[in-house]
């Protein structure tokens, strides 16, 4: 079974580039050049240098001892929360800004939900001196004020998306409209493994550093680079794809993707795409998305803005459909409790997104001795308001 992209831009039945003609030249330019540019020695050198000296990689693989005792397994946390800007998002924006420069682009646009990808994009634009415009849902702008301020301080223009549900999906629509209207000088840094081919593959390649390092670190710490399980949360699915990437072809490693169940999968307030979605086309690729019978996209709900998205990337849809990955869901309450648990047992406040992955440990049973890697995709600073309200802190 091939779990990776084929020459037509598909992962099995999913992927492709369902875009209006206005976007064709931009996407085609990227498609023709991305592998060549990424494979270039000077690109690799600059990319890895920045990941090391600017982002602070490799991020530690931390054996969480008290958590391991509680769950009767060796629980390793891949500490993407320790990256510069606080999450895995920067791995991708570093890669894409270097690519955009090599394509001669002068202006960068991005969409953002929680603001993590927006901050990571504004950061690399400041680093390289490029103009930056970030689209963000009007509602997210209100609920993520500190990240909006960070983007502005970094010199980005933050444009509110006022259509639809005024969240991540609508910010993505606005960014695509901007790209249609600025076809020559602009590069669109998509923040997840979604969008038209080659984005899902390209973003996965940039995030694959997560599993590349994890394998090396597991060898050092356990003598074995094959964990029994790897877990990660999935909105669009970029940290999960990075965490899975180098384990995908090793079928002994079980891949567990944790979706946001919101208030509960059957409550009408959920973002559990594989449970509630059907095959269709959203934001330029064929995948699984939450939609009505008439094919209108349904508004998702999750307590975490980063998982509040009605689709998943096409490679995830393929891993789900083939059964290679196990897709599960965790509710808002379960995630928040898991966030508190990690904080009090290990002294790490996780992003609520990442807390979804941690929460699934509660539902697993271990014989003892299994090696389990959880991607701690981001830190919880941005979520303090939500934690404070929920736990009356």
């Amino acid at each position: 079974m091939n779990y990776f992209v084929n020459e037509k831009g598909y992962f099995g039945d999913f992927g492709g580039a369902y875009i209006p003609e206005m976007l064709y030249p931009n996407v085609e330019e990227l498609r023709q050049n991305y592998l060549k540019i990424i494979g270039d020695e000077s690109f690799q050198k600059e990319f890895h240098q920045l990941l090391k000296d600017y982002v602070g990689r490799p991020s530690p693989l931390y054996l969480a001892k008290r958590l391991s005792q509680k769950y009767n397994a060796n629980i390793f946390l891949k500490r993407e929360d320790l990256n510069h800007t606080g999450a895995h998002k920067i791995n991708n924006t570093i890669g894409q800004i270097l690519l955009a420069e090599r394509l001669g682009k002068k202006r960068i646009i991005a969409e953002t939900g929680a603001g993590q990808h927006g901050v990571a994009t504004a950061t690399v634009c400041a680093l390289r001196g490029l103009e930056c415009v970030v689209y963000m849902g009007e509602i997210d702008i209100q609920r993520q004020a500190p990240n909006v301020a960070r983007m502005k301080m970094l010199g980005a223009k933050v444009v509110p998306a006022t259509s639809g549900s005024k969240t991540l999906k609508d910010a993505t629509n606005e960014a695509m409209r901007d790209w249609i209207n600025n076809p020559i000088d602009t590069h669109y840094i998509i923040g997840s493994v979604v969008g038209p081919h080659p984005y899902p593959d390209m973003v996965a390649i940039f995030q694959s550093i997560i599993s590349e390092e994890t394998k090396k670190q597991l060898i050092e710490q356990t003598g074995n680079d094959q964990p029994d399980y790897v877990l990660a949360c999935v909105g669009g699915g970029s940290n999960a794809m990075g965490m899975f990437y180098h384990f995908i072809d090793d079928e002994k490693v079980k891949l567990i993707a944790v979706e946001a169940g919101g208030r509960g999968v059957d409550t009408g307030f959920s973002a559990a795409t594989t449970f509630l979605g059907k095959e269709g086309v959203l934001h330029g690729s064929r995948s699984i998305l939450m939609q009505t019978e008439d094919g209108q996209v349904v508004e998702p709900h999750s307590v975490s803005a980063g998982l509040d998205y009605p689709g998943i990337g096409p490679q995830h849809a393929h891993l789900f459909k083939t059964g290679r990955g196990e897709y599960v869901s965790i509710t808002d309450d379960e995630a928040l409790q898991a966030g508190l648990l990690l904080t009090q047992m290990e002294g790490i406040i996780p992003a609520i997104e990442s807390a979804h992955a941690l929460a699934y440990l509660e539902k697993m049973s271990f014989k003892g001795g299994e090696n389990v890697v959880v991607c701690l995709s981001g830190r919880g600073d941005k979520d303090m308001d939500t934690y404070m309200k929920y736990f009356n802190l």
């Binding site: 037509k8 492709g16 580039a17 369902y18 875009i19 209006p20 003609e21 206005m22 064709y24 030249p25 259509s163 639809g164 999906k169 609508d170 629509n173 695509m176 409209r177 249609i180 209207n181 076809p183 020559i184 059907k278 095959e279 269709g280 086309v281 959203l282 934001h283 330029g284 939609q291 019978e293 008439d294 094919g295 209108q296 996209v297």
Partner: protein, 255 residues
């Protein structure tokens, strides 16, 4: 002969009007078509709304949202169009995004179009490669035209390929832009239109995006077989005087 072919063979300066089905009132769809034909429209593009219309500007986004909020679906649209051909004789196209078509089923969608007398479709986010591989047979088997878009950035090679796959007309975008922005015919635009005119394509061409006055319409007709008006018309629709607002708008172009 198909209605579209006949239109292009017999008329010049073709005026095509786009509007959103189910807007301003849910059941206005056929009434607007009838009034448009009576007021001199040559071709109609009826938009079926989608929740995430990325190629559209604020006017068509808003009309799409209102239509969906009022309960529009593809199924309902085909019911509304059941008696279309008793009232309207000019060619009619349906225009919308690919996901609702996929959920309806491509085969079912084409059959339903034929049953109500729709002549073709414009699906901006259905790429040429996918159309060729999966859908061309179904469209052509049902005698439906599929209209492709061309922008100033589309390569000559690709335009020829689009011409080969088209069987109605080619939709020339005046610029790479979302709908509803003014047409500014710069030197660059003129040389793009002239380049296409010189390519001697087998299909006729229509210019769209940004046509909002008699002046821009006439300008577009210098380079193509006609022009398409969308956002400007949708903006002019008045729910309190539907027929009046349609007629007043059309007088600007046909007056």
């Amino acid at each position: 002969m198909s209605r579209i072919k006949e239109l292009f063979q017999t008329k010049k300066n073709i005026l095509s009007i786009y509007y959103t089905a189910g807007y301003p009132g849910l059941n206005d769809t056929v009434q607007i078509a009838e009034t448009l034909e009576q007021s001199g429209a040559d071709l109609l593009e009826i938009g079926f709304p989608y929740s995430d219309p990325v190629a559209d500007g604020p006017t068509i986004q808003a009309s799409s949202k209102q239509s969906l909020d009022q309960g529009m679906t593809l199924k309902l649209l085909f019911e509304q169009l059941k008696d279309l051909r008793k009232k309207v004789s000019i060619p009619v196209l349906l225009m919308g995004y690919v996901n609702p078509v996929l959920q309806f089923g491509v085969e079912n969608f084409c059959k339903a179009c034929v049953e109500v007398g729709v002549d073709g479709c414009i699906v901006p986010d259905l790429p040429m490669a996918e159309y060729e591989a999966l859908y061309q047979g179904i469209f052509e088997g049902n005698g439906l035209s599929n209209i492709f878009l061309v922008t100033p950035q589309t390569s000559t090679e690709r335009i020829h390929k689009i011409d080969g796959l088209s069987n109605g007309f080619i939709y020339l975008l005046s610029s790479s832009a979302t709908t509803g922005q003014n047409l500014q015919v710069s030197e660059g635009t003129e040389s793009y239109f002239s380049r296409i005119a010189d390519m001697k394509l087998k299909n006729p061409t229509m210019i769209g995006f940004g046509i909002d006055s008699k002046e821009t319409f006439d300008k577009a007709c210098e380079y193509a077989n006609g022009a398409i008006i969308g956002s400007a018309f949708v903006k002019a629709l008045d729910a309190n005087d539907l027929n009046g607002s349609v007629k007043t708008f059309m007088q600007k172009f046909k007056g």
